[in-house]
Structures are given as C-alpha cells and as structure tokens.
C-alpha cells in the first residue's frame, strides 16, 4: 500500500462546546450534557467538568458526586446535527473520501485532495480554521499514514490539538501507548490483556500472531498488525452499518413486567423509526437490561429472515420472558438489531451480481 495521508478530525467536547457556544453563561463552567443529578449518563462533559474526573458515558449520579457544581443540560440533537452538517461540508471541500464515525468525528483520506495540497498538515490546519470560522468551535486533528495512528494522534493533545505521527515516529509511539488507548480495545479486552502481562504497546508486540489469534480470535490478527503500525483499512465513505439500536434510562427503576412491556414497546417504536430512516433491519434482536445496581444482561434471538416491524415487538416481548428478577429494579432498557442481510454484504466482499 502506497504511503497514505489520513486525517482524523474530532470536535472537542462536542455537545458541551455547542451548549457553551449557544449559551455564554455556561462558558467556563463545568457542564454535562445528558442525564440529571439522579439518573442517566453523561453524553459529553465540558473541559471544566473533565478536570473533576467527569467523563462521557459516566453515570450522572457518579458525575455529580465528583463535581457537585456540575450543571446538567438536556441534549439538543438538532443543534448538534446542524453543526455536524457544517463540518462535513468543510471535509467534502477537500475530498470525497470522508468516513464519518459519529456526528463529530471523521476520517479523511487526503493523499489526493481537491486543492492538490502537498502536505496533510496544511490540509488539517485549513480544516481546523474553517471549522472554527464556520461554527465557532474547535476541533483536534490527528495526521498519520493510517486510520489507527491518525485517531491516536488526534487524541494526543486535545483540545484544539494538532499532532502528526510520521512513519519514523510510529514505532516508538506505539510501544509507549497504554493498551487501553488502542482502538478496539475496550474494558474487557484490556483486562484480559493485563492478565497476559500486556500493559503497553511494547508488551503486545512481544506476543506472536498465533498467541494473539488464540486469545482474541479474529481481533488477534488486527492487534498483531496495528502494534506494528500496520493498518490497511481504507477510509470508506459508505461504511455499512452493522447494528442499530435504541435505549432509554429511566428516572425511577422499573419493577414490574407490565411497565417493562410498555417501555419496551415505546423503545421498539423508536428503533422501528430509526430502521425506516437507515433503510433496513437485521435478522437478530438483542434486549439489553441494566439493573439498579448497574449489572447488565442481554438476551438475543436471531431469525431466519429480516425482522419485520411486528417481529421486533414480538421478539422483544419473547426476550423479556428471559429477563430474571425484574422486581430488583431496572434502570435501563435497550433494543438493538444486528446481523444485516448477508446478500447485501456479499456485494462488498467480491461477490459479483448479474446485471439485471
């Protein structure tokens, strides 16, 4: 693979920054978007709040303990989507090879770009400036020769950061990197790796491909490669969705089956709406339940055929039957559909079609 120039652009404390921009009273204050003092999770925290240890995806109650003056704000997704559209327009000016990861994050392949700018650093600087001018918000940019390193680079000196990892720096950089920072390594994998004596990139690098495949299956090969700075994943502008879900955290724990049925029904409605917007459901449905003590269980079912709207509701209720101890109190319910039609995937994997 020829030397590529990949950017990873990530907005700084996105939701929180939009809120601070639109409401100057919040500037300089610790704020959390999402949840309230008692319930829910923090979707985003301002940098002021992060100083207290408040992080995104943290339970709001815990965030409140860490920072009692934390201001909780209801999310305004319309506003975020608007900004997301603006930044995407900036990206598209430079290249059509934009792979959005979420509303505020994207990979760009600028090896060839619309302005024939030679240095990726110049592209990144321009993009950051344009985003600032258009939205009043700051972004961090990571530049490298593959996706894995570009993402790590953008995280390196946030906010308003800018970092380049060149091929000659890569090895040293990865060796020092804590494995939690590796893309694709979550809490569970990190723990597993710690047990194997893997704490940093250099520990991971000592393991053979066979060992890693044995321990982590398919991902083992991926870890083996990325720790050597090899990541040939392309920037894919039409990334296919692998799953689609909807979930809700409740003000008060749910304790009866009747309430569960009602709430599952309304979450199913949201999921069905999202499926309509995204163009298709999968064959499997997963019901996720988080108890009052944060213990989480999931139950799944896979059908032969793509789930219809009616199937989603029916299967969700069937799965509910498999959830024990509802009376202990349930704080969160989620539904997710995955396992999208094989036929569509085949097309991406080299399976040719008749030209009808």
């Amino acid at each position: 693979m020829p030397n590529r120039k990949i950017l990873h652009i990530d907005m700084d404390a996105f939701y929180a920054s939009v809120e601070q921009r639109d409401n100057p009273e919040l500037i300089g204050k610790p704020i959390a978007v999402g949840g309230n003092r008692e319930r829910g999770v923090v979707a985003a925290a301002s940098y002021e709040a992060r100083k207290y240890g408040v992080k995104s995806a943290m339970a709001s109650s815990l965030a409140y303990q860490k920072c009692p003056q934390l201001i909780f704000i209801k999310p305004r997704f319309e506003a975020y989507k608007e900004v997301s559209k603006q930044i995407r327009e900036v990206f598209e000016e430079y290249t059509h090879l934009v792979e959005p990861l979420s509303l505020d994050e994207a990979y760009l392949d600028v090896t060839e770009n619309n302005f024939d700018i030679e240095f990726a650093m110049d592209v990144a600087t321009e993009i950051k400036e344009k985003i600032k001018a258009k939205t009043g918000l700051t972004a961090s940019a990571g530049i490298s020769y593959n996706k894995f390193l570009a993402k790590i680079a953008s995280d390196y000196n946030k906010p308003d950061g800018f970092y380049v990892i060149t091929p000659s720096m890569a090895e040293d950089f990865i060796e020092k990197l804590p494995i939690e920072k590796f893309f694709g390594v979550g809490k569970v994998t990190a723990k597993k790796m710690h047990l194997k004596g893997i704490f940093r990139g250099k520990d991971l690098k000592k393991k053979t491909e066979l060992q890693l495949t044995r321990w982590f299956g398919k991902s083992g090969k991926y870890y083996y490669n990325i720790v050597r700075g090899i990541d040939n994943r392309l920037v894919n502008p039409n990334r296919i969705r692998k799953s689609l879900g909807a979930e809700r955290t409740y003000e008060k724990d749910i304790t009866t089956k009747e309430e569960m049925i009602l709430n599952i029904d309304s979450i199913a409605d949201i999921l069905i709406k999202r499926i309509k917007n995204s163009g298709g459901a999968g064959k499997s449905l997963t019901l996720k339940v988080k108890y009052g003590d944060f213990k989480q269980i999931t139950r799944s079912k896979t059908l032969q055929e793509i789930l219809s709207d009616a199937d989603i509701k029916k299967v969700a209720i069937q799965l509910l039957e498999l959830i024990p101890n509802i009376e202990k109190g349930i704080r969160l319910i989620g539904l997710q559909t995955a396992n999208f039609e094989q036929e569509n995937n085949d097309t991406f994997l080299g399976q040719l079609q008749f030209e009808f």
């Binding site: 398919k218 090969k221 199937d311 036929e343 080299g350 399976q351 079609q353 008749f354």
Partner: protein, 373 residues
C-alpha cells in the same frame, strides 16, 4: 349447528392447509380455520390474505352454517386423539364450540365465520393441466435460487413462462440463477407470472404426496392450484421479471466436465476451511486436473484438494461462493456435470451431462466471487 367427523381425517385435512397460517396476524380471525357446511360437505379454509387454501370433506350434518375455529387449539387437540368420531356442537348465538370425543368434552370459543375475509373470485382465468410430480419437481429445482431482497420483490418468487409447447421456470437472487424447462407442460397461449415463495413452499410439501394431476388457473393478479379436493389461491407478485436470458453468457470457451458427487463432496470438505463471510472456494483448472482450495486468512485455515476432470480451454482460476455451488450441485441428479466458463469475473454455467428425464432441460448460472490475489 352440529356435525360429526373422523378425528384422523379432519387432522390430515387441517395439516394439509395449516401451513398457510401466519404466526403473527394483524387480523385475529386469520388465526382461525373457517368451517363452512353446505349439504353435508364441510369446506375448511385457512388464509393469510395473500394465500388461501380450501379443502373439502364429507361429513354427517343436518344443517348448514359457518364458524371460525381457533387453529392452534384445534390442531393441538386433534393430534392427541387416536382415530374416532368427534361431534362438534356449535352455539351460533355466542359461537361457543363443544367437541365431544370418546374421552370427554372440550369447550372453546369460536368467532363469527361471516367475518372471515372473502377470497376474490378468479376472473377470466387461463388454464394449465400438469402432473403433480412434474410440477413439484419444477418447484424443487428452482425454489432454492430465489432471493430475499425486499427491494427487488420480483426476485423473491419463481417466474413461470408459459408457451404453446413448453413451460420454463426461472429463479434468481442476482448471484445464482436456475432455468428449468419442461417440454411436457404447455399452456394454450403465451403468458407469464411470478409466484411468491410461500405458496411455492407449501406446494412443494404437498404436491410430492398428491400423486395426481393439478390444474393451474391464473390471470393477471392471482393463480389457483386445484388438486383433488383441495385448492390454493394466491396473489401473484406484481412487477416485471428481469430479462434473465440476457445474462446467460453465450461465449464460453472453457469447459470443465467432472463427476458431480466427487465435486460436491470435495467442495463440502474444502468449504469448511473457507472464509466465514465470503464462503469462497477457488477452482483452478490446469490440463486434466481440477484444484479446489479455500482459505481463511483470519484463522490461518486452509484446505487443498485435487480431482481429475476433463477440461478444455486455457488454464484458469475462478472463485465461487461454496454455499451456492453446494446447493446447485445437490439439486442435480446426473453422474457428471459440466461447468462452462469464460473468465474469472463472468458467470459459470452449470449443466448436467446426462438427462434424468427426456422432457426436462436444466441450466444453472452462478456469478463468481472475485479472488484477491
């Protein structure tokens, strides 16, 4: 209303048509069988609105009437009885049903049979007479190749192309295609329609055991299959079937002839080692040797086999989805098969080398999976 019927005969009839019933119906009465009695004849109907099946039995009954009886409850009950006469007594005021057997009495609630959706009458139908086993064979040979893509509903059914001197059945999911032609079936005029998967699946199960002739009546929107005392009416898929003849390549200089069973078993073994998403196997033809291989790079799995074959043409390599090849080869009966190919990115044509039946002509087409080397 009251009637007496043999439990075994009734069960057989209900099982014959019960496949139509959907597990989740928008209209609750569709969970029921409709019982209609007219002059000592009981006709039982099951429907999902798209497909409706009706079957008849003679019974002992003094009066006429209609009642809808919950299907699952009735089937579950009947399955438990050894053959014996059952008496159904129905209170037409509240649609209460009482069944008396040798062992005792069972009560259940029915519904007003007049609320059961009416099946539209087939207006101005054309007609085909066919042997049940031939029709069943045609369905068996094609059904597996139909697609599931909701965006291309026409491909989810089997295409019936009717001519004066033959009928061709076609199925495709855009990756594989089966064309099955019978010279011993014909219509009185040229016509075509697309029959959905569900009625075909039902027919496949039933026709094999019927052993008699079937009459197919059809018009622009519906088709009806009549065999013995049973009939099935279904709505046709609306739309234009793809021009399948256009995708059958005509220039295929490379011709591989190989034993069907040997090839099938080899692919079955090798495919275990193939990538779990693409199911890709690689066929490499050199001289009179066929090399079949598969690999899964993610797990460092790989398999290689060699078969002797007859091969005419230039050496070539081509990748196929092994699931497709297995399905297709399993659906043929001949000792040897021929695969005609031109290039690794063009469809391969699979045909049997000997005819199982003089009147049949079968051609299967499969698109390759691109090899990445």
């Amino acid at each position: 209303m009251k009637f007496i019927v043999s439990s075994e005969i009734l069960l057989k009839k209900l099982q014959l048509i019960g496949g139509v019933l959907n597990s989740n119906n928008t209209l609750p009465i569709l969970d029921d069988f409709l019982f209609q009695i007219k002059k000592g004849e009981l006709s039982i109907t099951a429907s999902d609105l798209e497909t409706t099946m009706v079957t008849k039995i003679s019974i002992e009954a003094k009066e006429d009437g209609v009642i809808a009886i919950p299907a699952k409850l009735l089937l579950d009950t009947l399955k438990t009885f050894p053959d014996q006469p059952l008496t159904f007594t129905i209170d037409m005021n509240n649609f209460g049903i009482e069944i008396s057997s040798d062992y005792g009495k069972y009560k259940l609630n029915g519904h007003d049979g007049t609320e059961f959706p009416k099946t539209p009458k087939l207006e101005k139908p054309s007609k085909i007479d066919a042997d049940a086993s031939i029709l069943s064979n045609a369905i068996n040979k094609t059904l597996f190749a139909t697609g599931n893509d909701e965006l291309r509903p026409v491909m989810s059914g089997v295409f019936f192309e009717i001519n004066n001197d033959n009928i061709t059945f076609v199925a495709t999911d855009a990756h594989k295609l089966v064309k099955y032609k019978r010279a011993d079936l014909k219509g009185d005029k040229g016509a075509s329609f697309i029959l959905p998967k569900k009625p075909l699946t039902l027919l496949k199960g039933i026709l094999g055991n019927v052993g008699e002739s079937v009459t197919v009546e059809y018009n622009e929107t519906n088709a009806m299959f009549v065999f013995g005392s049973t009939k099935m009416q279904c709505r046709l898929i609306d739309g234009k079937y793809p021009n399948y003849n256009a995708v059958i390549p005509t220039e295929n200089p490379n011709s591989l002839t190989v034993g069907r069973n040997g090839l099938l078993n080899s692919i079955k073994r090798v495919s275990i080692f193939s990538n779990k998403t693409t199911h890709q196997v690689r066929l490499k033809m050199t001289g009179s040797e066929l090399h079949i291989s598969a690999e899964d790079l993610d797990f460092a799995n790989e398999a290689n086999e060699r078969l002797t074959c007859q091969y005419e043409g230039e050496d070539m390599e081509i990748g196929f989805n092994s699931r497709f090849l297995i399905e297709m080869l399993s659906n043929l009966e001949s000792d040897d098969v021929n695969i005609a190919m031109s290039a690794s990115n063009r469809a391969g044509i699979l045909t049997p080398c000997e005819k199982n039946d003089e009147a049949e002509e079968v051609l299967m087409l499969v698109m390759p999976v691109m090899l990445n080397n």
